[in-house]
């Protein structure tokens, strides 16, 4: 908290000393955000962004974990599908933007699809590796005690792979959040990413540009902190 105040103080000083006219001071930013809040836009923009990111992200989690684990468990499947994944993975999700717009039009679905893609790859890869890295001793012990494959899954494979998969979920959210903001700058008309680009285009409102950036940082941090709490608790066990 103290560090934030110091930074804000330095920021204000910098604005005054350089006589900046376009770059906003902290006060400008707060006033700008207040104006948005007054018009009822602030919370709805935050809400829209969160809804989009959660939709794409949850889809990636629900598909990615089972897919990744299957790829790790069935070596032939992994051998076939893995090269495809490795080929697609380095392609920035944003490069899919034109295709997303063709497929889904200028609507909520386009950014959600991009977010889904962005989160999917890290989750699939991490789940696959988590299964590969299960110490063979655990699986042997499970079989030795007479566990059928479903029981082995529930009582050995899931607990053994949970910590690395949870870590990947947190990282994947970070990627999803980054992509969200960029996706919103192009394809929709609400949300925090849209706020930034619209504020600049529609009236050179740099107070709102910086305000939007700060909001993005704060909300992203808040969700990430929640993730960390959950992941830490689970990893403890």
């Amino acid at each position: 908290m103290a560090a934030v105040l110091v930074l804000a103080g330095l920021w204000q000083l910098a604005v005054i000393m350089t006589g900046a006219t376009i770059f906003p001071s902290p006060g400008d930013v707060i006033r700008g955000l207040g104006e948005l809040a007054g018009r009822g836009i602030l919370w709805s923009y935050i809400g829209d962004s969160l809804v989009r990111v959660m939709s794409g992200y949850l889809a990636a989690v629900l598909l990615g974990i089972p897919l990744g684990m299957a790829l790790g468990w069935f070596p032939t499947l992994g051998r076939i599908v893995n090269p495809i994944i490795q080929l697609l993975r380095p392609i920035s999700p944003l490069a899919w933007m034109p295709l997303a717009v063709i497929w889904f039009g200028v609507s909520n679905a386009a950014p959600i699809f991009l977010i889904f893609l962005a989160a999917l790859f890290p989750i699939v890869v991490a789940s696959m590796n988590a299964v590969h890295n299960i110490p063979p001793m655990y699986l042997q012990a499970g079989r030795n005690f007479g566990l059928s494959t479903p029981r082995l899954m529930a009582r050995v494979i899931v607990p053994a792979t949970l910590p690395p998969i949870l870590v990947s979920l947190r990282i994947a959210f970070g990627v999803a959040w980054l992509v969200l903001v960029a996706a919103e700058m192009i394809a929709v008309d609400s949300g925090l990413g849209y706020l930034i680009i619209d504020a600049r285009n529609a009236g050179k409102r740099y107070d709102l540009v910086v305000g939007g950036m700060l909001l993005i940082g704060v909300v992203g941090l808040a969700v990430d902190s929640m993730f960390r709490l959950v992941a830490d608790k689970a990893i403890e066990n």
């Binding site: 110490p135 012990a141 607990p159 053994a160």
Partner: protein, 245 residues
């Protein structure tokens, strides 16, 4: 009928012959050590008898029935890394007991936690335990399902030498209390003479039985007694020969 019967067993991985023509009978309740240098196939032999690997030739039988796969009646004890870190001590011990009623489960867990000397640590997690304690936990987990045979593959290898001595004593105490048949793989000559009723000495790869030595000293074994030293030296020269082949 012997408990464990190994007949004309050979194992080949690709072109590498790992075990050749192993023949062995183990009586019920006997403690047999399989001793040999690294790479001689002793762990592979144990894996075959345990049902995790199919032999290239020959067979392994338990109670006259050929081994076809892993079975809760024959439990492996690895080094202490085999315990599940996400389960507490009592949950680990109860791992194989899923077919029992709650009451029976509780009774067995209590009994074996007590037997291996982990009483008071039921709710602890493996990361809170020392190496020796984790090893004992693994033994408790194995015993809880009342197996007929225990397979131990160099279980004390990761422990310091003092703990190793203590664990050997513990294992013998548990063995005498539970009267299980035990196959114990080791590269440690002293360990084999301290523990076993019989020591099966394997040669270097491909593993063949060089000698089966009866250790005819009663427990508890005096490590300074002439007979102990004599037996140890027999094995020592036996292994020494193997290295010269």
């Amino acid at each position: 009928m012997s408990k464990v019967e190994i007949r004309n067993l050979s194992m080949r991985f690709g072109i590498t012959e790992v075990l050749r023509d192993i023949n062995l009978s183990v009586r019920e309740g006997e403690f047999v050590c399989i001793l040999g240098p690294s790479g001689c196939g002793k762990s592979t032999l144990l894996n075959i008898v345990g049902g995790f690997v199919q032999p290239s030739a020959g067979e392994a039988l338990i109670d006259g029935v050929p081994v076809s796969g892993p079975d809760p009646r024959r439990i492996f004890v690895f080094q202490e890394r085999g315990v599940f870190p996400w389960l507490s001590v009592e949950e680990n011990v109860a791992f194989g007991l899923f077919r029992l009623s709650d009451g029976e489960k509780r009774e067995r867990v209590a009994r074996y936690v007590q037997l291996v000397g982990l009483a008071g640590f039921e709710k602890a997690y493996p990361r809170e335990l020392s190496g020796g304690m984790k090893q004992r936990l693994e033994v408790a987990r194995a015993l809880a399902v009342h197996p007929d045979v225990l397979y131990l593959d160099e279980p004390f290898g990761a422990l310091d030498s003092i703990t190793r001595l203590q664990m050997r004593r513990e294992l013998l105490r548990i063995w005498q209390a539970e009267k299980k048949t035990i196959l114990f793989v080791t590269h440690d000559i002293e360990e084999s003479v301290q523990l076993a009723d019989r020591v099966v000495v394997l040669s270097a790869r491909p593993g063949k039985i060089r000698r089966v030595l009866e250790i005819d000293i009663p427990h508890p074994r005096d490590l300074s007694a002439p007979r102990y030293i004599e037996l140890r030296d027999i094995i020592f020269s036996e292994i020494g020969l193997a290295h010269q082949v």
